[in-house]
């Protein structure tokens, strides 16, 4: 099979999933409650309620409503967010960059630290670097991320502040009381680079450290574990023995021969970890008052703001499906066996 055919087949397979995601979100939002509820006030009469119902097509049969739902989603009309007092698409446009910035920071941190740790753990198997790395990784998958975030805040904000050390900020995206910031792309770091504002850049970066670390730790743990096990598996292969028997240095064997093949399963795990990252963002953003999608979604749920909950669920599912699709495509290019298998 050619790469092009593989790409087409993989994209076609994603279509029923997207359709299913739309169906599930429709059913969930239908069950959540009567959407007319938010329009009703004390003096709203029965006729007015009926009129609202008719206006929004809520008196139509369910399959027709589902059709309207699909039409609206694809035409970009995602409803009105009562909790944010803005159309949902606008809320998403302003808040998505914040979440993506945080997630990318977290995932870069996880990759930069996680992959070397995994290699270290595999090459020093059953010695103390391995034991320490395994404990770190195991703690990462067993730790409640919100607790970890609070503990980080306690130590690096509160205790550092008490001790007179340079404390990290407790939350938010930048020091909005002092620094002016008008979004251009919405990504604070990029915007501050464009406007050549080093103070804002450094401020944004220090604000990213704690939430990024809290969010990235789980991903780090997953990457480290995967890297370790796939590295151990690859090191047993015949071509590694061959490379060693040729008299190549251990460094060359590990970094030139083993690493490339051991990376393949890790790439898949990074794609899957994206889902965990979105879940984690909900919790981390709540703790660090990060103005992203996660905090909006919890507030929306606590306010029973149906369009917002629906949009958030849908958006995250789309991002997740997209991430997995991209990973599968990368996987297909990296490993020809997948395409032909």
């Amino acid at each position: 099979m050619k790469l092009r055919d593989y790409v087409i087949r993989r994209i076609l397979l994603a279509i029923p999933v997207v359709f299913g995601v739309l169906a599930i979100t429709f059913v969930l939002s239908y069950v959540m409650g009567d959407p007319v509820g938010i329009y009703i006030q004390e003096r709203t009469s029965e006729e007015q309620v009926e009129a609202i119902r008719r206006l929004h097509g809520l008196d139509r049969p369910l399959y027709e409503q589902f059709f309207f739902y699909l039409r609206d989603i694809f035409s970009g009309d995602w409803g009105y967010s009562v909790s944010a007092r803005l159309p949902v698409t606008e809320v998403v446009a302003t808040r998505l960059p914040a979440t993506i910035e945080l997630s990318i920071f977290a995932i870069i941190f996880a990759i930069i630290v996680g992959i070397p740790l995994g290699i270290l753990s595999a090459t020093k198997k059953d010695r103390w670097p391995d034991h320490i790395t395994r404990v770190v990784a195991l703690a990462g998958v067993s730790m409640p991320i919100f607790w970890f975030a609070l503990m980080l805040k306690y130590v690096f904000f509160f205790q550092f502040y008490q001790a007179g050390l340079p404390a990290l900020p407790e939350g938010g995206r930048y020091t909005f009381t002092v620094l002016p910031y008008t979004p251009i792309t919405g990504f604070l770091l990029i915007d501050s680079l464009i406007t050549l504002n080093p103070i804002l850049f450094m401020d944004g970066l220090t604000h990213l450290i704690l939430p990024g670390f809290a969010l990235g730790y789980l991903t780090l743990a997953i990457i480290t574990r995967m890297m370790r096990s796939s590295m151990l598996e690859v090191m047993k292969e015949d071509y590694i023995t061959l490379a060693r028997s040729k008299g190549l240095r251990e460094r060359v064997v590990i970094y030139k021969h083993a690493l490339r093949n051991a990376m393949i399963p890790t790439v898949t795990v990074i794609g899957l970890a994206f889902g965990g990252l979105m879940s984690g963002a909900v919790l981390t953003e709540t703790i660090f008052s990060w103005p992203g999608l996660g905090r909006w979604s919890t507030r929306a749920i606590l306010n029973s703001d149906i369009p917002s909950i629906n949009a958030f669920t849908l958006l995250v599912a789309f991002i997740f499906v997209g991430a997995n699709l991209i990973v599968d495509l990368i996987y297909g290019t990296l490993d020809p066996r997948i395409r032909y298998g």
């Binding site: 730790m143 503990m151 995250v316």
Partner: protein, 427 residues
Amino acid sequence: MTKIDTDQYSEEKEEASSVVTYLAYFMIVLGFICVIAGFVNSIYSYILLASGTINEIALFGSIATGTIAAIAIGILLIPIGLGILNLENWAFPFVLYINALAILLFMINGGFMIFVALFNLLAIIILMTPQVRASWWSLFMEDMAPRAKETRYTLYLIRKSPLVVAGIIIIAVYISLVFLAPYITPYGPTERDWYNFLSAPNANHIWGTDENGGDIYSMVIWATQVDLKIAISVVAVALAAGAFIGAAAGYFGGAVDEIVMRITDVFFAFPGLILAMAIVSALGARNLDNISIALMLVWWPTYARLVRGQVLIEREKLYVEAARSVGASDMRILAFHILPNTIQPVIVQATLDMGGVLLTAAGLSFIGFGAEAGSAEWGLMIAQGQSHFNQYWVTLYPGLAILFCALSFNLVGDGVRDILDPKLRRR
């Protein structure tokens, strides 16, 4: 001499088969009892709902683990009883599997279904009596012999692995905390020392107090019951439902398989916590039962996939082919070969998921979907620490409780998975 021997032999056989017949009739009767109990359970639950003892969500949970499970199990038990009556040997292991599942589900459901679970226990006890064992145990063990040897070897490896042993010990400690809570805590789960709120750890409150004067130590211990119950019930129900659906998909194949797999694909398109959030908000009321139901709905596809894959793999294996070629029936192959081989990875997955469910449930509770304010639950206690993060003890101890609980399940699950992995085993 010989004649007497033969007589004795036939007499013994007669004796044995009479108990077997009892078991067979008992299974059929139990089948009807389960079906009736299922209906009674739903009526009973509706009465409780009407009297306001439980809410709609608890009703839903009761219908899922009580009514539907009981009716399905009852319907399965009747053909098994008939099978035993015809002395078909596949039926005996099924008595064990189905009744064990029934006990698990009925115990989770609680209420009067626990009495039905006693009948299931009785069935297993009858199954294990020497008279009944004579007609299936040797055959079962013969088929299990290589596996029994492997199991002994596995147990040996588990004993040799310090991490797995440590995990098992921690789990045992947590389970004992569930029962010991009233004896080792100075305060009740909702008891408050109103004048000493947010006090640092001291002699009266060894782990300090929260904003309402609740003793952190006592609340952490009491919360073990709540959180373990969520984790166990979610994993058990998701496992039972997922295994059933996955086995059906793998067994029937074709369109059924395709539909089930596409549905699981859709569920996998959502990150767990976020789908659970949406489901909780769709269910309306915010309480722990709701969280459990949402997590069950989120988690079943994992098991459906796993069991389906296992069934497909095992079905094609040479030993199944061999069993089929000597004329073993489909049911026999399922009971003696496929199910026992499927169970190992499922148990490993369930152990690992206990940690995951625990963390997700605590996360949901932290955001504010969980127990009502002030009740002893780890996630909720940490949520309180959010506004008092300067008072580290409010947050620290419940978090450590979650960390060690999830860690122990991960240690055991990870270790056992490595031990069972054929690639790492004996080379």
